[in-house]
Structures are given as C-alpha cells and as structure tokens.
Amino acid sequence: MILAVEGVSLSFGGVRALQDVSFDVKEHEIRAIIGPNGAGKSSMLNVLNGVYRPQKGKIAFRGREFRGMDPRRAASLGIARTFQNIALFKGMSVLDNVMSGRNLKMRCNFLQQALWLGPAKREELEHRRAAEEIIDFLEIQHIRRTPVGRLPYGLQKRVELARALAAEPVVLLLDEPMAGMNLEEKQDMCRFVLHVNDHYGTTIVLIEHDMGVVMDISNRVVVLDYGRKIADGTPGEVRRDQKVIDAYLGVARA
C-alpha cells in the first residue's frame, strides 16, 4: 500500500466537500476517482497533495501517517500532480517548465548559481539531460523553446504532465488529464499514462470523466457522490453497481 486515505472529511463553511472517505492505492496501480460534477473528486486530490487540509481523517504515505500534507512536503515525498485547469508557468518555455519540475532535485546554493560556478553548471547540464529525455518521451521536442502560453490546450496538458514527470514522482496525481481533448489527443494521453505506469513504475491516481478511458486503463476505481464514497472496486464491479448507476443516471426519489 503506497497511499491510503482514512476517514477524511473536508468542508468549506457549510459545504461538505468530503465526508468520511477512505480508500487506498496500491503500489504501481492506476487508480481512478470518478463521480458526477461536484462529487468531491478534485477536493480529494487536493487533500492528497496538501492544498487542502482535511478537518478529520488522515493520509498515510508508505506507512507514514499525516494529519494533513502541505504541497511542498508532498512534492518532496515524491507526489507530483497536474491540475484540472492547467497551472503551467505560461510565460516560460516548455523546457523551462519541465526543468522547474526538477527543482527539488537540484542542490546547488544561491551563491554557486549566482556566480555560475562549476558545480552549478554541471548540475544544470545533468538535469537538462533528464528533462530532454522526458520531452522526447512525451513527443514535445518540436515545441521545447515555445512559451507555454502560446500552445494549444492539448499540448499544454502534455507539458504539464512532462513537468510532473520531471520530478521523477513515486505517485502521480492527474486531475482530468483528458478533459477537453479530441479523440486523437485522448488516445495519445492514454498511451502516455499507460507508458509512464509501465516504464517508470509510477503509481497513478487519476480523475477522469470519460468512462471509456477510465474503464480501459484503470486497475481499480473509487466512485464519489456528494462527497461520499459510494463504490470501490475493479472497473467491471463498479460498472454493475446499482448505486453508481443511480448516481450517474439519476433515480426518481419517491
């Protein structure tokens, strides 16, 4: 078990975003979180990387328990993420964005860098190589000098994935990586996610609306509705679950 959430509750004022949610993530699996709009999926992801601190419950990462994360600690533990509405550094080039993902891996201090001393230079080159590898892997070589703000949406999503991968994460949190993409872009993204999982052995937690995608690539699925967990299991099990069907299709309440 690499990551586990136990009895997490989160509310904003009177709005209960999450209520007593528990689930776990196994090493090396692809774990999907699904649910209708407003079910609390993004809130859950934000709890996992520490943007939000839950009022109740705890998070365990590799057996270490946390009452709440904070984003920087999550990053240093090896949890990287992408955002639903893309949080790239828009004025910077693709390469610089990816390099910024390696920030925590670089060690030289301010003075060494300001003076551009040998170690700083060597370090920069070494990390540059790693960044280029990821850029090649995600097939974005042709745009590496382009400022991110000028790229089309689909490519921005891919750059964001590249930046997250640059940190060589143990767990990768993806918040709707395929939202707003056309079919071809989705297929590419699926291929990348599967390849990352396979090639780097990265554990992946993803939120996705496209049921086809979720059913195809994930090992296990958590279903949230109105902040509660209503189902948890393999795609096949979840698909047949009556509560899930009701949540998605709506039921007439007597």
């Binding site: 984003p71 955002f83 920030n103 300001a114 930046r163």
Partner: protein, 297 residues
C-alpha cells in the same frame, strides 16, 4: 554635431542611472507582483549607511561589505514582517504597505545616521575624459562612464541569473503561478527572501552611484520616482525593459531640455519623462517589453 552627441551621450549615461533604480522595482514586481514603492527609500538607506560608515573612517571595501549585509538583512526582514503576512491580499493593499514602509525606512535611516546631507567620493573624478574632449570636443564624464559600466555588468549578471539558473527559473515560476510553483516543490518564502535580498543589493549599487552624483541626501528618495516613467516605457516585468526604458528617458529628457527648452523658457527636464510616459500609456500600456495581457472571455 559634437554638441548633439555630447548631449545625447550625457542623456544616455544619466539614463543608465535611472535604469539602476528601475531594476530594483522590476525584480520585486517580477517575483511577487508587488509594486515596491519603498525601493527609493532602500536606495537612500543604502547610500546613507555606506557614506556614514566611510565617514567614520571605515575603509571602502569593509563599508561596502557591511552595507551589503545590512541591505540583505533589511530586504529579508521586509519580506518576513511586512509582505509575508499580506500574501494573497489585493495589489492595492500591498502598494499601501510599501508606501508606509518607505516612510518608516526614511525615518529609521535618518534616526540612525542623522539627516544632514553628505558628499560621497569613490575616487573616480567627475571630469570629462581628456582625449575625447581634445580630439572631438565632446565632454563625457569619467564617472558617468564608470557608472554605466557598473550598471551594465549588474544587468548582465542578473539577466544570466534569471535565465540560466534554477533560482532564476524558480523566481519566474513563482511569479507566474504560486499554486503550481508550490506543487512542484518550489519554496515560495525562500524565493521571495532571495528576491528582496537581491533588490537590496541593487539598491546599494544605485544608492552609491546616485550618492556620488548628487550627494547623499533625502532627495535621493525622489530619484526613485524617475524610475516610474522608465518602468512604464520598458514594462514592469522586464529587465531589458528597465535598461532600454532608462536610456530612452535619459536621452530624450536631456535632448528636450537643450533643444526644446529655450522655446518654453526651460525647466522641461523635470517633467518631460512623465509626459513621454503618459503618451506611452495611451499607445502601449504594457510597455515596450511587458507581457501583453489578453483576457479570454
């Protein structure tokens, strides 16, 4: 012709001095989106501390070193005490905070070192370069040339730092998107502290240069206001903009004073820069090198 060149060169060199001050603004603005009104006070504080130490018989290098340390400490303290608690407040709040800060800084520096004006000498005479004036009949001050050189080196180093190193990348990342920067593990506070320290350092260089030129006195804080038109021209986020803006403002105000001044009775120099800035605001509000903001609707 030689007179024109002389005026132009004098203007450009004065412009470099404006750029030096503007640079301090750009650094803070780039990294934290704060328009630091107190930059002028930092310049004053730096110059006053430096000159007071040398007058107490400290040697040049020691005084410079100690002042540098003091500036870094002040910069870090400002970030810690004033700006950190105000993170995520609207820009107008931050602006007000820095305006308040500027008066506190001026008060404290005069409390520490007294309020009388000082002269400052670096051992570089403020006299025309001889062979230039003999051969071409153009008078250009040795000191001005030195100041321009120092500014040039400073800008080159800063540009390199911003473009080529991890810290620079982290700075730009923080400026661009706080949330994303946190998620990739960039320590915001650490970065802001560094920026303020560097801004303190830039203020020291500007303070010493301006101190030699005009004397170290309270009026130094107003030189910072000359950085405003420079910033409007060059764009608030751009180091290159600060330089080019400074050069344009410096040159055009000197040329205006000499060639337009006589027709209106002189005294153009003090406000001409603002007139240019106003015109610029109408035509290109983001500045020459600023980022054009296009909102998606």
């Amino acid at each position: 012709m030689s007179f024109f060149i002389e005026v132009l060169a004098g203007g450009l060199l004065a412009g470099v001095m404006y750029s030096l001050v503007a640079l301090g603004f750009v650094l803070i603005y780039k990294a934290s989106g704060v328009f630091n009104f107190a930059q002028g006070s930092l310049v004053f504080f730096a110059a006053l501390t430096f000159v007071s130490l040398t007058e107490r018989g400290w040697n040049f290098a020691l005084a410079l070193g100690v002042t540098l340390i003091a500036m870094v400490v002040v910069g870090v303290l400002i970030e810690r005490i004033v700006l950190r608690p105000l993170v995520n407040q609207p820009p107008i709040t931050l602006l007000m905070a820095t305006i308040g800060l500027s008066f506190v800084l001026e008060g404290v520096s005069q409390l520490m070192w007294g309020s009388q004006p000082h002269g400052l000498e670096l051992g570089i005479p403020d006299v025309p370069i001889e062979w230039l004036s003999q051969k071409w009949n153009i008078n250009i001050s040795q000191f001005d040339l030195f100041a321009a050189f120092v500014a040039g080196v400073l800008v080159a180093v800063l540009a390199l730092l911003f473009q080529k190193t991890r810290i620079g990348r982290a700075l730009r990342a923080v400026a661009d998107d706080h949330q994303a920067a946190l998620a990739v593990g960039i320590p915001l506070q650490h970065i802001w502290a560094i920026v303020w320290a560097v801004a303190g350092f830039v203020a020291l260089v500007a303070g010493v240069m301006w101190g030699v030129r005009n004397g170290v006195q309270y009026a130094l804080t107003f030189t910072a206001l000359k950085a405003l038109p420079v910033l409007i021209l060059g764009g608030f986020e751009s180091i290159a903009g600060a330089i080019v803006g400074g050069l344009i403002i410096g040159a055009s105000e000197k040329l205006a004073e000499v060639y337009l001044g006589p027709y209106v009775g002189g005294g153009i120099e003090s406000w001409f820069a603002y007139a240019i800035a106003l015109l610029f605001l109408l035509v290109r509000p983001e500045g020459l090198f600023g980022e054009k903001i296009i909102d998606r609707v």
